[in-house]
């Protein structure tokens, strides 16, 4: 196991190094830079500022400087926000995480329940109805369903707030604060769950169908076990095994923020910050954020491999 881990981790470092170079080049080579979109500046002042920011240096030298600082734990100052990149992450990322974690939880919960039931009652009216609804939900564009729900629930019926994370000007603390946040996150969570639940349900349903046909399920039933026990103890456990791969992939998306949902619901998350920084070519922030996602992706894959091994001893790690 430890030999395996050492090998995997050294691969990870190499991959991350390669990825960082690649990402850096991609950002640096996208047309325009932080200075060029400020149309107030004269060409001489632009040149002066590029000198101050070091944007006129050769690409590899800039990468070297960034890498050197990053290895010292310094991810730089955001050019547009004038704050250390890590401070900004800390300010925004947890808001995104909250939204993603809650909606992921509901997505999985609903997907597992519906998946199991509809697999068990394959081709029943329930199964057909659920599949139709799920396909409908999957094919809705997020901005449409988001705006539609804002119009109905917030503007017309005034049940829920139209956006944001807090009531403007609110000084709520403690439980009142929690209540307020829950109130504000209801709509975005509903939309994210609606959009995510479809594919996952299909996944669990088909896994479950495969498992139910296995001999050991027939054996379990033949032993006279209760149907509930057969389904949830024997069938579901095995049907969930392939889903471990998905858990690893969820990791970066938990922290990555959702660009569209955050924008529609005015949620103060990292996705909004990222997309705006991209428009401005705020290199330190872009680099920091993309590298964070890369690290999470790599860790996520390692994690799912290890989890797989723990959950299913048949899987060997080399």
């Amino acid at each position: 196991m430890s030999a395996y881990l050492t090998k995997r981790i050294s691969y990870m470092v190499i991959i991350l190094l390669a990825a960082s170079l690649l990402i850096f080049c991609l950002y640096a080579l996208t047309p325009g830079d932080f200075i060029s979109s400020n149309i107030k500046l004269s060409p001489e002042r632009k040149a002066e500022l590029r000198e101050i920011y070091g944007l006129n240096k050769p690409l590899l030298e800039r990468y070297g400087i960034w890498m050197k600082n990053a290895l010292h734990g310094d991810f730089g100052f955001s050019l547009a926000q004038q704050k250390p990149v890590l401070t900004l992450f800390n300010e925004y990322i947890w808001n995104s995480f909250l939204l993603a974690a809650v909606s992921t939880f509901f997505t999985w919960l609903i997907a597992v329940i519906i998946g199991v039931v509809s697999a068990y009652k394959q081709y029943s009216w329930f199964d057909t109805l659920v599949m139709v609804l799920i396909f409908a939900a999957m094919s809705l564009p997020s901005f449409f369903i988001g705006l539609f729900l804002i119009k109905i629930c917030a503007v017309d019926l005034k049940w829920l707030p139209p956006g944001g994370m807090l009531t403007t000007g609110s000084n709520a603390t403690g439980l009142a604060y929690v209540k307020e946040v829950i109130h504000h996150m209801t709509l975005p969570v509903v939309v994210m769950t609606l959009l995510g639940v479809g594919s996952l349900t299909r996944y669990f349903r088909s896994n479950m169908i495969d498992v139910i046909k296995q001999d050991y399920i027939r054996t379990a039933r033949a032993k006279g076990l209760k149907e509930n026990k057969v389904l949830f103890r024997h069938a579901l456990r095995n049907a969930l095994l392939p889903a471990i791969t998905l858990v690893g992939f969820e990791l970066p998306s938990l922290f990555g923020g959702s660009l569209i949902i955050e924008k529609i619901f005015n949620w103060p998350g990292i996705g909004q910050l990222y997309i705006q920084s991209f428009g401005l070519r705020d290199y330190p922030l872009l680099m920091g954020f993309t590298m964070l996602l890369a690290v999470l992706t790599v860790i996520g894959t390692l994690l799912s491999d290890i989890l797989y091994h723990i959950a299913d001893p048949r899987v060997r790690l080399h």
Binding site: Y11, I15, A19, L22, I23, L26, T30, P31, G32, D33, S36, S37, N38, I39, K40, L41, S42, P43, E44, R45, L49, I52, F77, A80, Q81, Q82, K83, L88, E91, Y92, N95, K151, V155, K158, P161, P162, G163, G164, M165, L166, T168, G169, K263, I264, N266, P268, G269, Q272, I275, Q276, F278, G279, L280, R281, T290, L293, A294, T297, V298, T301
Partner: protein
């Protein structure tokens, strides 16, 4: 195998993240200045043609039915909330990189001199000023007993410090002050002098500054917001300004409001500053709420008290139907234009540029298709500027025949496929625009217009403003749509012809007039000079003038004494805003 998969995943990750940003056309409040991308922005909704094309609102409109005011907005007793697209939290004037932080700064920091609704200087922290006869020395007389929000006195030393650090070699903000030729500033920047020779503190209430060359914009430019030397200058050493970054989140100013709390991505909360020189503002609390994109839902639900919209008939009707909003019309101090690539052979010819202007139906594109939320521009100044004139200005009324005639005169004759040719080369216009409704309208109409002239039109649309700019910098274009940032002085709208931004325009007559316009601060004299300049540019068309925007502000009918200045936004009137009791 595994490695490959992971690398591929990271690649896909990068690829998907590089997806371009959606452009946002409806700011809650337009950025005061700075690094926000300024492009042609179209009306957000609706596209039906209104005959006549005049905006549906010329006078302020008072709310008709205040009983419709949402409960949330009724409950507020001492707070006014305004939407602002995206303040970043760096609230130090001159160091702020986002224009939205500039909006915040304008409430936290007062200026020495501000401007009235016509753009003319009026006293603020400075009660009066003198300009020497040679137009080189400006002396500001500060009011007595001025204080910063922390209670410390504001004196001429603070002003001197504010000016000085902007000439530091490490200064990386986008202030225009460093472009002024202040005497001794260059020596200071190069580290050859300990202080700037031209800046003299005469007594705690009086400061003067001497320029090397007259510049009529200097009075307002130097009369900007004042930084406290005791607070912002404590750790200052020449060439090192990084320490200021640590102070961005705790501003100490002299404006009507103080910062109470900044919640990233959500709110900027202000409380009234009891040390404000005009007396404590009438409304205790003020909030800028971060709200990207459409602000309708927030105004409708009473979450914000004030929002701006494009002045389309549809928007105005909708605002009126809400019942509880007052509406005021507003013309921003900007102008839209098509930058022309003067390095391309065909466009070097004035006649071709004039032909394209005559041949383009600007009325349809900018006025009618926008439901009246715009008007046609013919000079580089907004209609609200004191220098604006229509005297001797050619309106270039849409006239295809005239345009054809001019092209004929310029030697472009119809060739194969109806496209005009000269010396075997076709007349092709490669157009660049930012992704927006306005650009879509432009392309649709211009394609037809130019086809009628025998000009081949090749549009290219960019979702990302930065990419557009670098394409323009590479010179691979013929026409590109732009809009200026907010212009205070008429010379602000002309500087692009001087500083090399518009490549290939070199007219000694213009340069002479430009210098002349800055050499005096007498407004009547300047008006005459700018009229001459506008007539010259209107004839030469180094750029094609397109449009002015028209906006309306809708605000909660409970607010009294509200007015918006095209040049300083809310800052001047905000201290007087009061909240009437809800009905």
């Amino acid at each position: 195998m595994k490695k490959g998969v992971i690398l591929l995943t990271s690649l896909m990750l990068v690829g998907s993240l590089l997806m371009s940003a959606c452009s946002n056309n409806n700011d809650a409040e337009p950025a005061a200045s700075g690094n926000s991308a300024q492009t042609e922005q179209g009306a957000k909704e609706g596209n039906t043609t209104v005959p006549g094309g005049e905006s549906g609102l010329t006078e302020p409109y008072a709310a008709a039915d205040m009983s419709k005011l949402p409960a949330v907005a009724k409950q507020r007793t001492d707070t006014i909330i305004v939407g602002l697209t995206d303040p970043s939290g760096a609230f130090t004037p001159y160091f702020t990189q986002s224009g939205y932080d500039g909006n915040v700064n304008s409430l936290l920091f007062s200026s020495l001199v501000t401007v009235d609704d016509k753009g003319l200087p009026i006293p603020d922290l400075a009660e009066k000023w003198d300009v020497s006869d040679d137009q080189l020395t400006y002396t500001y007389h500060l009011r007595k007993d001025l204080k910063f929000s922390d209670g410390s006195p504001l004196t001429a030393d603070d002003v001197a410090f504010t000016w000085t650090i902007q000439f530091d070699k490490a200064y990386d903000g986008d202030s225009m002050v460093p472009t002024l030729a202040v005497k001794g500033a260059q020596a200071y920047k190069e580290g050859k002098a300990k202080s700037i020779e031209g800046i003299k503190v005469i007594d705690p209430q009086t400061i003067s500054v001497t320029l090397e060359k007259p510049n009529a914009t200097a009075l307002v430019m130097l009369g900007g917001q004042v930084l406290s030397k005791a607070y912002y200058g404590k750790d200052y050493k020449f060439g090192q300004l990084d320490y200021i970054k640590k102070l961005h989140s705790n501003p100490v100013g002299s404006g009507p409001y103080k910062l109470e709390k900044f919640i990233p991505g959500q709110e900027v909360r202000f409380v009234a500053n009891e040390n404000y020189y005009k007396g404590k503002p009438k409304t205790e609390r003020f909030i800028y709420k971060t709200s990207e994109g459409d602000t309708w839902q927030y105004l409708e639900t009473g979450e914000v008290d004030y929002a701006s919209f494009s002045a389309t008939t549809e928007n105005i009707e909708k605002l009126k139907s809400l019942g509880f909003v007052n509406i005021i019309p507003y013309t921003p101090s900007t102008y839209g234009y098509l930058q022309v690539n003067l390095e391309h052979e065909a466009l070097k010819d004035k006649k071709v540029r004039q032909a394209l202007t005559y041949g383009l139906d600007r009325q349809s594109i900018y006025v009618d298709a926008n439901q009246g939320a715009g008007s046609v521009a013919n000079i580089p100044a907004s209609p609200i500027s004191w220098a604006y004139t229509e005297e001797g200005i050619n309106p270039y009324k849409f006239d295809t025949e005239k345009a054809k005639q001019l092209l004929d005169e310029a030697g472009w004759k119809e060739g194969a496929g109806g496209i005009r040719e000269k010396d075997g080369k076709q007349l092709v216009i490669h157009y660049l625009g930012s992704k927006s409704k306005q650009t879509d309208i432009f392309i649709a109409v211009a394609k037809e217009n130019f086809q009628a002239l025998g000009v081949k039109f090749e549009p290219e649309v960019f979702a990302d403003f930065n990419s557009l700019v670098s394409k323009v910098e590479s010179g691979d274009y013929d026409l590109v749509s732009f809009s200026t940032p907010m212009l205070t002085d008429p010379s602000d709208g002309l500087v692009q012809f001087m500083d090399g931004e518009i490549k290939g325009y070199d007219n000694p007559k213009f340069k002479e007039l430009y210098e002349k316009g800055l050499a005096t601060s007498d407004i009547e004299q300047r008006k005459q000079i700018y009229k001459e300049i506008f007539q010259l540019l209107n004839d030469e068309l180094p750029i094609i003038f397109t449009s002015y925007k028209k906006t309306v502000y809708g605000y909660n009918g409970r607010i009294d004494n509200l007015s918006v200045s095209p040049f300083v936004g809310l800052a001047n009137s905000l201290p007087d805003w009061t909240l009437k009791p809800a009905q």
